[in-house]
Every structure is written in structure tokens, then in C-alpha cells.
Symmetry: C2
Subunit: 148 residues, 2 copies
């Protein structure tokens, strides 16, 4: 009665889209990280930055942006907040003053040990078999390749 039949277009229904489950699942997964990250005074994107720095110790803003698919408009203020907490340092590359080098500091390194159990704890909440996990990761990677 509210909705004339002609207007119910199946492809326009929320549940038939891919976009909404992706959008919602992403937010819910981020929220699921919250209790663990909160203990470390970290936000989720800050955690992603640390994942990269734990691997590489020093990266340019550009390199971080390429890996995380984020631009300086997002990264610059985020990195400044992380700098204020002494997790990392920001300085211009002397060899090329355009670039800013982000270097992991001891306090940032110290977070690694505290965070090392987070992935397993999250994985547990998802109740995915290793096969499902891999399939999902592969599909998401495919989407990323198509869109990025």
C-alpha cells in the first residue's frame, strides 16, 4: 500500500546489493577491533599504520598511502596524532624535501607485542574455516584489484 508494486525494483533492494553488506561488514569488523585497540589507545586506521611500520620501520607518507589506499588528507592529521603519542616520528627526507619519512619509535615498537594476539582473537569471532577465510580474502582482493 505504501509502495506501489512497480517501484519495487529487486536490484534496488538493500539485501540484493553487494555494496551494503561490504560497507556494513567493514564497519562491524572495525567495531569488533575496538575493545582490543582501545586498551592500546589506538584507532583502527592507526593500527593499520603500525602494522606497516612494524614490518618496515621507516616509510614515506606516500608509501603508507599507497599500501593503505589513503591520501595525505587522511594520513597527515592521523600521523600527527600518532607523533604526539611518541609512537612515530615525522621528518622531511634530507635527500628529497618533498617527502616525509615516518619512522617507528620505541613506544610504537612496544605496542607490537601487546597487539600480537589481536588477529587471532578477531578471527575467532568470525567463525570462518581456513578455506572460507582464504576464499573471502581472495574475492575481496579481486574487488580491490578491479577498483583500485
Amino acid at each position: 500500500m505504501n509502495t506501489p508494486p512497480a517501484s519495487v525494483n529487486p536490484v534496488q533492494q538493500l539485501e540484493n546489493q553487494l555494496c551494503f553488506p561490504l560497507y556494513a561488514a567493514s564497519r562491524m569488523l572495525t567495531k569488533a577491533y575496538q575493545p582490543y585497540l582501545q586498551e592500546l589507545d589506538l584507532t583502527y586506521p592507526q593500527y593499520l599504520v603500525l602494522l606497516l611500520l612494524w614490518e618496515h620501520d621507516e616509510l614515506t607518507v606516500k608509501a603508507l598511502g599507497e599500501q593503505l589506499l589513503l591520501d595525505s588528507g587522511t594520513l597527515t592529521p592521523l600521523l600527527k596524532r600518532m607523533e604526539q603519542k611518541y609512537w612515530l616520528s615525522r621528518r622531511r627526507d634530507p635527500a628529497d624535501e618533498r617527502m616525509v619519512l615516518i619512522r617507528l619509535l620505541p613506544a610504537g615498537r612496544a605496542l607490537q607485542a601487546q597487539a600480537c594476539h589481536i588477529p587471532a582473537q578477531l578471527l575467532e569471532k568470525l567463525t570462518l574455516t581456513p578455506t572460507e577465510f582464504e576464499a573471502l580474502r581472495r574475492q575481496l582482493q579481486h574487488i580491490l584489484t578491479q577498483l583500485a
Copy 2:
């Protein structure tokens, strides 16, 4: 040399996580909607609200929030912006003044026809077979069920 071997924990590598591909794919997909939504002066979450209103014509803020997994802190200002564009109206339910009824207005209904080709165009960009599409949607739904 920058990274001592002991510190390279495979589960802490970005590419081995599920979280990052999900987070990035969601953002990239939203960005892929942008050119289409921009023509309609819509943002992505506003489009999601309209998807629901096109189906139901009138919904409470609470119902919208339950479907979209968003709270009033996000929805209230978003809906006010949509109200300013005469796409919807906001009014208290006379029968229960706690609730706010969101009703689709003609201008909001008019957007439906203009938006009806968006899902197919996006789907094309993803180059997923129907089987893959369904599998992915099911997996994301599983995650949502586990986390929401």
C-alpha cells in the same frame, strides 16, 4: 636490516589479514559509486537511506538505524541534510512522540528512476560471475551475522 627477523609476525602482516581487504574494498566500492551518485547530489549513505525509503515510503529513524546499522548520531544530521533538499520529511509520530517518522517526498521518489541503473553499472566494474557474487554476498552476510 630495518626489520629484525623476530619481529615479522605473519599474522601481523597487512596482506594476511581479512580486516584490511574488507576495509579497503568497502572504501573503494563506495568511491566507485561516487561518479554516479554525484550526478544526483547524493552521498553513499544517503543513497542507502533512499534504497530503504523507495521500498517502504515511511520509516522511523530507529528502523533505518536497525537496517543500516547506524545510530542517531550518524542518522540525525544526515537526515536533516536530506530534509533540506526536500527528498524526505521528518516529523514526530503523533502516537509516540519519542519516534521520528521519515517519509519519502516526491523529489526523493524522483531520484529512484534516475538511480535505477547504478547497481548494474557497478556490478559491471566488479567483473564477478553470478556465482562469485552470491558466494561473496553470503560470506559477508555471515560476518555481519557474527558481528552485529
